[in-house]
Symmetry: C2
Subunit: 279 residues, 2 copies
Amino acid sequence: MTKHLFDQALELQAAGSDRPDTWLGTTSPAYWNMVGPFGGSTAATALQAVMQHPALLGEPIALTVNYASATAEGPFSITATPVRTNRSTQHWVLSLNQPNAKGEDVAVMTATAMTALRRETWQVNDMPMPDVPAPKDVERARLAGAMEWLNRYDMRFVRGGIPRKWDGADKLSPDSLTQLWVRDDVPRPLDFASITAMADVFYPRVWLRRPLHVPAGTVSMTVYFHASAAQLQQAGTGYVLAQARGQAFRHGFFDQSAQLWDESGTLLVTSHQLVYFKE
Amino acid sequence: MTKHLFDQALELQAAGSDRPDTWLGTTSPAYWNMVGPFGGSTAATALQAVMQHPALLGEPIALTVNYASATAEGPFSITATPVRTNRSTQHWVLSLNQPNAKGEDVAVMTATAMTALRRETWQVNDMPMPDVPAPKDVERARLAGAMEWLNRYDMRFVRGGIPRKWDGADKLSPDSLTQLWVRDDVPRPLDFASITAMADVFYPRVWLRRPLHVPAGTVSMTVYFHASAAQLQQAGTGYVLAQARGQAFRHGFFDQSAQLWDESGTLLVTSHQLVYFKE
């Protein structure tokens, strides 16, 4: 059986015993965006380096990735160092590197992660899943022919789909809210890596708020993992309801706040990102 | 004239020419919390190391700090390394270190920051300031006698103040929303460091949602700076409206999403954090 394309994209080889924190990978053409890989798959690959580190304590609870430049097609290294291990939490510092034009090894992504032993506590969900139609009742978006990574996802926009007319200079949308059902295509059971990628599945909010096709790209993303491995496993190959909304657009950057629920309404992750835009 | 206590807390000395990215500081008793300094002042100190680095490009746009342990009373070092400088953006990796019981230098905080040259672009605020009474019409909270750092702020809770009765096992609040006016006491003109500290000014959401006085502490915080230095300067010594709301409480952690506006309604920063809680 062929490995799922997402699992192929996540493949990392240990760099060797003299560099125990370093892993080697290659960019995946299947998850190609415009000038580099889909940022969500790069973030997932960074998390993967933590997940397969022999010193790992617990499960991911927080991840922040900063995109310093587009990742170039080809090989890269990820160094994931557990800089502090407490009784029930662990702190990671990461760097994804590639050679630059001069052949120097430079960071194309910096990141920090935190893992922890989850335990049962009192719980409450203060961000209930919005009332939306079921995935089967929402038409799948036709995104073929656009960027390659879009073919890896089944996306069904409930609200705030990609504008059909780029007439934003004259006509603002009333808000920057998008809600969509999303899952891997081919379906793949949810895990920490795939939900990380899905946290970056939204097209730039600035295109929705002011429908102009301006250059835009994520510069920093944070994911807080509220779901345990068991809860992700329980969500299985079901759809995820992904919601994002911008808060401020100014000085060439905007932010977005996002929530992802499984079909049963469990809030799996919350996420935030800062995005560069032009004009 | 005596320096403002916040500026005293931010004081950093260059470690020397053999460690050009490292700065030395000392914890401030004036900003003491329970078992370490107020996390907001520690985050501000980390940002300060970036701000006074001779290689700095532009102004802060994003900061993520991860609290690996409580900072102990006494000296610390901060290393702020500009790992990647682009044409208009710069990526920083930071570590705040102290000696542990064995005398080894260990990270008590890891962080990443991003700075950028701001430029004028199209702008819109998708998170308008809520309609609340003016600071002068809201009673100042009496917090004297509690933790020392609380004496450094004038806080006026519009909604969601600290519970008076710790009867949460029986009685949940309907939500975890807090809104307060806040400014430095003694008043001090706003800047990137002080607004960073204010982004961490909220008491734990879990205390509001379920009024039980359980142990809780921030483990990771991200701040996105939407305001320019000029906009912060314009806000001057005015009050800041700070709003925070939890999204999920589960497995010993909760998150919070926060917004801070100046009195004129300009959204200065948005912020998110993940907080540990017990039981």
